[in-house]
C-alpha cells in the first residue's frame, strides 16, 4: 500500500459542502430556518463523504488472459483492485483499444462496487477482428469514495499490452501427390527407388545391395540372388512466398470483407498448417514488408506458430519498392507457393524470376472477388478496375504460357489439380534460364 496522495475532492463534494454551508449561512443571517431544511441533504452528504474519506491508495493490477490469439477469438482483460482500508465504494474503468479490437462491454466501460460486490475483478472481453499486432490499453481506472466525494486514479507502470492476433487459417486440404524433391528423408513416397519402407519390386541382386534385402524365397526358386527394392522416402520443401507489396480491397476484419492481404495470409496459414501436419518442411518469405521477411524451413507445429507470428507482424508499406531480387532461402527443388493479388506486374515478374532458377512455382491469386464492387462516391473506380483486370488477365496468361501455374484461392482442394499436374511433369524445366 502506498501513501494516499491521489485522493482528490470532487465537484460533487464541493457542491455538497459549499451548497450546504452557504444555504446554512443564509438561513442564519436571513433568519430563515426553512433554508436549513434545504441545506440538510447537502450537509449530510458532505459530512458523510468526509467521514468515509479513504486515506490509502488502492492497489491496481492489470492482466490479459492471452497474449496471442487467432483473429476472431476472444480473450479477457482483468483489472484487480485491492483496497485494504475498505473505504473505496465504486471502481470504474475504461479500456482504450486500437482499431480492429472489439470490446465487450461496448466502449470498454465497466463499473463495479468494491464495497458491495467484493473483490471480484473488473473484466472486459477483447476480441481482435483482424490479424496483426494490436495495442490494447492502457486502462484508466478511477476509484470513488462514499457519495463520490473523493476520487483517485491510481497511476502505475504503463499497462498497455500488445495482443498478437494470428491469421485465422482458411480451410484447406490437398490430396495431390507431392512434387518431386531431391530430399531423401520424409514421409512421402519418392518417384525414385531407394532406401525406404514402401515395397517397390523384387529384382536381381546388384553390387551394392544390402544383404538384409535379399529375398530368399525368390532366390531359391530361381537359383539367382534377388533382393526386395523399396521406394525412397522424401519430404517436401515448401516455400510460402507472400506478396505484401499491396493490400488491395477493403478489409472488414474476420466478420466482414477480406482484402487481398487477408486472403493471402489466411490461405498461407492454411497451406502451412496442411503441409506441416504431413511432416513437410515449410519456409516463409515475405516481399514488401518491414521487419522479419523470411523464416528458414523447418517442420513441426512450433514452426507453424513462428510462421503465423511472422505473418501477423506484416506491415504492408506503401513506399517500399520491389527490388526484384531473388528471395533468399529458396532451396534446390523447393515448391514455391506464391500468394499475391497480382495487381502489380512486378509480382508476376518475380514468379518468373524464381522459375528461371529451376524451382517449381505455383502462384495463388488472392485478389478478392468483389474488388470491382462499385464505389458510390466514385463511379469511375469500377470501370478502372475492370480495365486493370483485363490487363491482368493478359499478364497471367503470359505467365501461364511460361509454365507457371496460376490458380485462384478457393479453399479446400483448390490446389489439387495443379499439384497433380506438377507431379506428373516433375523435372520438366518449363522456363529456360536466360
Amino acid at each position: 500500500m502506498k501513501p494516499g496522495g491521489c485522493w482528490q475532492p470532487t465537484t460533487a463534494h464541493a457542491r455538497a459542502l459549499l451548497g450546504g454551508v452557504l444555504l446554512a449561512v443564509a438561513a442564519v443571517l436571513a433568519r430563515r430556518p426553512d433554508l436549513l431544511v434545504l441545506a440538510t441533504p447537502l450537509v449530510g452528504a458532505a459530512v458523510w463523504a468526509v467521514r468515509l474519506r479513504p486515506l490509502c491508495l488502492p492497489h491496481v493490477t492489470h492482466s490479459i488472459g492471452h497474449g496471442v490469439v487467432r483473429e476472431g477469438e476472444a480473450t479477457t482483460w482483468h483489472i484487480e483492485v485491492r483496497d485494504a482500508e475498505g473505504r473505496v465504494d465504486d471502481v470504474a474503468a475504461v479500456l482504450e483499444a486500437t482499431t480492429w479490437i472489439d470490446r465487450q462491454p461496448v466502449n470498454g466501460q465497466v463499473v463495479v462496487s468494491l464495497r458491495d460486490d467484493g473483490d471480484q475483478p473488473l473484466s472486459m472481453v477483447i476480441r481482435p477482428t483482424r490479424w496483426g499486432a494490436r495495442r490494447v490499453g492502457p486502462a484508466l481506472v478511477v476509484a470513488s469514495s462514499a457519495w463520490a466525494g473523493f476520487r483517485c486514479a491510481p497511476t502505475g507502470e504503463t499497462n498497455a499490452h500488445t495482443l498478437l492476433a494470428l491469421p485465422q487459417s482458411s480451410r484447406f486440404d490437398a490430396s495431390a501427390p507431392p512434387v518431386r524433391t531431391p530430399g531423401l528423408v520424409g514421409v512421402n513416397r519418392s518417384p525414385r527407388q531407394g532406401s525406404g519402407t514402401e515395397f517397390a519390386s523384387i529384382r536381381p541382386f546388384q553390387p551394392g545391395d544390402r544383404l538384409r534385402r535379399i529375398h530368399w524365397a525368390q532366390s531359391l526358386r530361381t537359383g539367382t540372388l534377388h533382393v526386395t527394392s523399396t521406394w525412397a522416402d522424401h519430404d517436401r520443401h515448401v516455400v510460402l512466398l507472400i506478396d505484401a507489396l499491396n493490400d488491395v480491397g477493403e478489409s472488414g476484419g474476420i466478420d466482414g470483407r477480406a482484402s487481398s492481404l487477408d486472403v493471402s495470409l489466411r490461405a498461407a496459414g492454411a497451406i502451412a498448417e496442411h503441409y506441416i501436419s504431413t511432416g513437410d518442411r515449410v519456409a516463409l518469405a515475405v516481399i514488401g514488408s518491414r521487419g522479419v521477411q523470411r523464416l528458414p524451413p523447418a517442420t513441426g507445429y512450433r514452426q507453424l506458430r513462428r510462421m503465423l507470428e511472422v505473418m501477423a507482424s506484416i506491415e504492408p508499406p506503401t513506399d517500399l519498392a520491389d527490388d526484384g531480387r531473388m528471395p533468399r532461402g529458396l532451396g534446390q527443388g523447393a515448391l514455391v507457393v506464391m500468394l499475391s493479388p497480382l495487381v502489380s506486374p512486378t509480382a508476376l515478374q518475380r514468379a518468373v524470376t524464381i522459375a528461371e532458377h529451376g524451382l517449381t512455382v505455383l502462384v495463388i491469386d488472392c485478389l478478392p472477388a468483389d474488388i470491382t464492387r462499385s464505389d458510390p462516391d466514385d463511379p469511375y473506380v469500377e470501370i478502372a478496375w475492370r480495365i486493370r483486370l483485363l490487363e491482368r488477365e493478359r499478364e497471367i496468361r503470359r505467365v501461364g504460357e511460361a509454365g507457371i501455374a496460376v490458380v485462384p484461392w478457393r479453399g479446400p482442394g483448390s490446389l489439387d489439380v495443379v499439384l497433380r499436374d506438377l507431379h506428373r511433369h516433375a523435372g520438366v524445366r518449363m522456363v529456360r534460364r536466360r
Partner: protein, 184 residues
Amino acid sequence: MNDALSPDSRWLSSRVRGIGLMLRVLILASTVLAVGCTWLAAGHTVPIVNVVIFSLALVCVALPDSHVGLLVVLVVGVEWLATVHDRATPWSVGAAVSLAVLHASTAAASVAPPAATWTRAMCRRWMRRSLAVMVASGGTWVVVAAIHGHHVASSAVLIAASLVTIAIAGLWARDGTLDAGPRT
C-alpha cells in the same frame, strides 16, 4: 465552461445507456420538482429564473462532473429565499428531497462512464444513502415546524453562535477534505 470539454461531452452523452440515462433524466426531473415545490410554496414564480435553472440543469446533464450543479443548488436556494415567505411550509421537504435527488444523481452520474452497466448492489447503496439524507431533511423540517409557533426574540449572540458553529463545521470539513495527510 471549458470549450475543450464540449466535444467530449457530446461524444459521451451520445453513448449514455441504462442507469446512466436514468440518472440524467433524474437530474432534470429533480430540478423541475425543486422549482415546482418553490412555486407551490410561494404561490407564484419568476419564469426567467426557472428558465435559468432549467438551462443550468441541462448543462449539468451533459457535464455532471462540473460545478454547474452547485449553481443549480444556489439559484434554487436564492429563488426559495426570495419568493417563499412561509417558513414552516411542508413544501420545503419536497424541495429538500429534490435537491437530495439532484445531488445524488449528479454525483452518481460522475462515478461511472456513461455506457457502463451498474450493478444492482451499486443502485441499492446509492438509493439507501439518498433515502437517509432525505429522512434527515424531514427530521429538520419537523424541528423547524415545532419551533415555528414560538416567538424567539432577535439575538445577536444566538446568530454569532450559529455562525461560529457553521464556521467550525466548515473548518472541520475543509480539513477533512484537503488535509487528510498520508497514511501507509
